[in-house]
């Protein structure tokens, strides 16, 4: 008998990779039909207008074609994707009521622990439904709402109806339409005027079922002069079939408000991550994005900021690390629609072991945005010569009062820098990883400590075995 060789197919990501037996209560048929959508809608007890919205979105989905730019999506076969997987668990506010295997998963990911030490509220989604939600009592008293989208749809129907997919309409692109048709789960946050949520809220999205899709919808409204830091985490164990994530995030930052939206994304390497995130910012408002993309097989993710009110600001900080078998197409876009709006985009991309990292951005300054200011800085690091790193920014500027600057660099770790560190007694491997960690430091320092540690761990995991 031929000796079977052991191939290390993927990096060690044990923590994220432990999969549970699929004990789902209900799964829709794979594929996308009107019947499936009616079925999901009925099970979720949607109001009538939501069913109509879903069906309309399906229509749009069928009319739109795949984008003729960006990564190849031909591997994705919608007929094989199960769009709705209902876990055998009810939404609860107590971890004790969450089924053991699901709770264990979130324990391993450190969610209940973080909830105790550093979060003001937590949402946890498992496959298609949110299984846990909590928020500190004093925030409730101040009128802050933090709950799952299904609950919000019933308890705050008017607010949801006024905002749901208004920023990202289904016709925006094919996967936005798909999202409109099959969305399930996600978080709803409402921060009333003048309220400052000092400690972050976090929602964690875990996709356990093989061959499934996750389509959570996150809707955040930060009213006038209020502030919030929201953290989004996501992961999934690895399967040999394609999983799909087509979430949608809509952020409404009103006049004078401030929202920080942080994401550490670590999907498994069989995930197609086609996510849409968009924020609209009112007068004197600020949106801050902190975005770390480490996982997934293919990603297309470009958080968009619409600076609608005078003096609105956007800060975008992103890091993308593409390794073997990954094609991560990430970036940002900013639309300046009002005078004196400003934006800062700073990104770092790393590629290695045949991975492909693309930075893609759009900066649009309309005629209505005199004195707009935007500066983009993007740096790419390549760790070997079998990987790819591409940078494709576009600036589209109208009017004569805008001040726009863009800078990008591409290259590898300099031999001289390694020699310098080695001359201080630091080994070559450690020198390299120090330099890589230093390279992503501008992003790490924007994250709360424990998430910075997590990001550093992810970087270290990625670097293991490539050095030396």
């Amino acid at each position: 008998m031929a000796q079977e060789k052991t191939y290390i197919e993927d990096i060690e990501r044990t923590l994220y990779d432990i999969k549970n037996v699929d004990k789902s209560k209900y799964k829709s048929q794979s594929g996308l039909t009107e019947d499936i959508i009616r079925d999901i809608s009925a099970r979720k007890n949607d109001p009538e207008w939501m069913l109509e919205f879903r069906l309309k979105s399906l229509e749009v989905y069928n009319q739109l074609s795949l984008p003729n730019w960006g990564p190849d999506l031909s591997e994705l076969n919608m007929d094989e994707i199960v769009t709705y997987v209902q876990p055998d668990a009810k939404m609860t506010g107590s971890w004790d009521e969450v089924p053991e295997d699901i709770k264990d998963t979130f324990d391993r990911l450190g969610i209940p622990e973080a909830e105790q030490t550093s979060l003001a509220g937590v949402g946890a989604q498992y496959d298609s439904e949110v299984v846990y939600h909590s928020i500190q009592e004093d925030l409730v008293k101040q009128g802050v709402i933090y709950t799952d989208m299904e609950t919000a749809l019933h308890e705050h129907e008017e607010i949801v109806r006024d905002h749901f997919m208004k920023l990202v309409p289904p016709k925006d692109h094919k996967f936005a339409a798909l999202h409109g048709a099959v969305w399930s789960g996600g978080s709803f946050v409402y921060v009333p005027e003048g309220v400052h949520v000092e400690i972050p809220l976090q929602s964690y999205f875990r996709l356990n079922a093989a061959g499934a899709g996750q389509f959570e919808h996150t809707l955040i409204i930060v009213e006038k002069n209020a502030s919030l830091h929201f953290i989004e985490g996501c992961s999934a164990p690895k399967y040999n079939v394609t999983n799909l994530h087509a979430g949608c995030v809509e952020l409404f930052v009103n006049d004078g408000a401030r929202l920080r939206y942080s994401t550490i994304e670590n999907w498994s390497r069989n995930m197609m991550n086609l996510n849409t995130k968009r924020a609209v910012v009112g007068k004197d408002g600020v949106i801050e994005w902190v975005s770390g993309s480490f996982g997934s097989h293919v990603s297309m993710l470009y958080p968009c900021s619409v600076l609608k009110g005078e003096n609105a600001k956007c800060e975008f900080t992103g890091v993308t690390f593409a390794s073997k078998g990954q094609n991560l197409d990430t970036g940002a876009s900013v639309i300046h629609c009002a005078p004196h709006t400003s934006a800062n985009i700073s990104t770092r991309t790393i590629s290695k072991a045949g991975g492909k990292a693309t930075y893609r951005s759009a900066v649009k300054v309309t005629k209505n945005a005199p004195y707009a200011k935007c500066s983009v800085n993007c740096e790419s690091l390549m760790l070997d010569d079998i990987s790819r790193s591409d940078t494709l920014p576009t600036m589209d500027i109208e009017g004569d009062e805008a001040d726009i600057g863009h800078e990008a660099t591409i290259g590898r770790i300099s031999d001289e820098a390694i020699f310098y560190l080695m001359s201080r007694g630091i080994s070559e491997d450690e020198a390299r990883s120090m330099i890589v960690r230093g390279f992503v430091e501008p992003i790490a320092k924007e994250l709360p400590l424990e998430y910075a540690v997590e990001m550093n761990n992810l970087v270290n995991i990625e670097l293991e075995g490539t050095m030396g």
């Binding site: 730019w69 759009a362 920014p393 600036m395 500027i397 004569d400 805008a402 726009i404 660099t409």
Partner: protein, 277 residues
């Protein structure tokens, strides 16, 4: 009207930006003026190509080992005419190219320049000047393709836009796998003089090779107010001051034009258009 895709960027992006491809009238591409040039190894040449009435021109050049070429291409088409041109250049080992391109004429034009740094240690230095006023439309697509080892490519672009002019400048540095120790640099500086302008820039950097150094930078803004103020404090009118500042901005390209008469012609052509603002 019957349109045809004339040039495309090497990697597509969002369609709503309208920068993926340049289309031109089919009729424009019917009659071309074609020029094929071989610079033999170790030869050193200078050439000037001028477009004053041709609607479409193609220049194909190969530069042999250790050879060099200074190519000055001036597009000075009359205001009411449309125009398209393309330049394809292949550089062999240690070949050198200096390309000076002035894109100031025509009502609407599209140009594409494709430079292949094929041989090791070949080098291309490209300087571009564009100027748009009225309702002109300017469309440019420059690609530097790094293939050989230790190749060097520099792309410096200086532009001025006024009136209701529209411009797209795409500049690509494409480091192919194997282009070890290549160095590429791209810079575009645009001065915008009027509200009605639409200014699009697409600086692309593609790399399949880690052992390279690539940089690009774009800056777009209005004319430096401090400079204007300084000049006006010396008695210059606002219009005169603007002219002077813009002229200074174009100088890095203008001074590369060796023919005094041509340089004067371009200089006064731009000045005249600034007057009519």
């Amino acid at each position: 009207m019957n349109k045809e895709i004339f040039s495309e960027i090497p990697m597509r992006t969002w369609n709503w930006l309208g920068v993926n491809e340049a289309t031109v009238d089919k009729d424009l591409l019917v009659e071309s003026q074609k020029l094929d040039i071989d610079i033999e190894a170790d030869h050193h040449e200078k050439m000037v190509v001028e477009y004053r009435k041709e609607s479409y021109g193609i220049v194909n050049i190969s530069i042999g080992e250790n050879a060099s070429l200074k190519l000055t291409q001036l597009q000075l088409m009359p205001e009411e005419r449309n125009h398209a041109n393309e330049v394809n250049i292949v550089l062999e080992k240690k070949a050198r190219l200096q390309l000076v391109a002035v894109e100031t004429g025509a009502k609407s034009f599209a140009s594409k320049v494709n430079i292949i740094l094929k041989g090791d240690k070949s080098q291309a230095d490209v300087s571009v000047l564009y100027f748009g006023d009225g309702d002109r439309s300017l469309d440019m697509n420059y690609v530097l393709d790094f293939q050989g080892r230790k190749t060097v490519g520099n792309l410096e672009v200086y532009g001025g836009l006024m009136g209701e002019s529209q411009k797209i400048f795409r500049g690509t540095l494409d480091f192919k796998q194997g282009s070890k120790q290549a160095k590429g640099y791209e810079k575009e500086n645009v001065v915008v003089l009027s509200k009605g302008v639409r200014n699009r820039s697409v600086p692309i950097m593609l790399s399949g090779e880690d052992d390279v150094v690539g940089n690009h930078a774009v800056s777009s803004g209005k004319i430096n107010e401090d400079k204007l103020h300084y000049l006006m404090s010396r008695g210059l009118s606002p219009a005169e001051a603007r002219k002077l500042v813009l002229e200074a901005a174009f100088n890095p390209v203008l001074e590369l034009i060796e023919d005094e008469v041509l340089r004067q012609e371009i200089d006064s052509y731009i000045k005249e258009r600034l007057e009519n603002e």
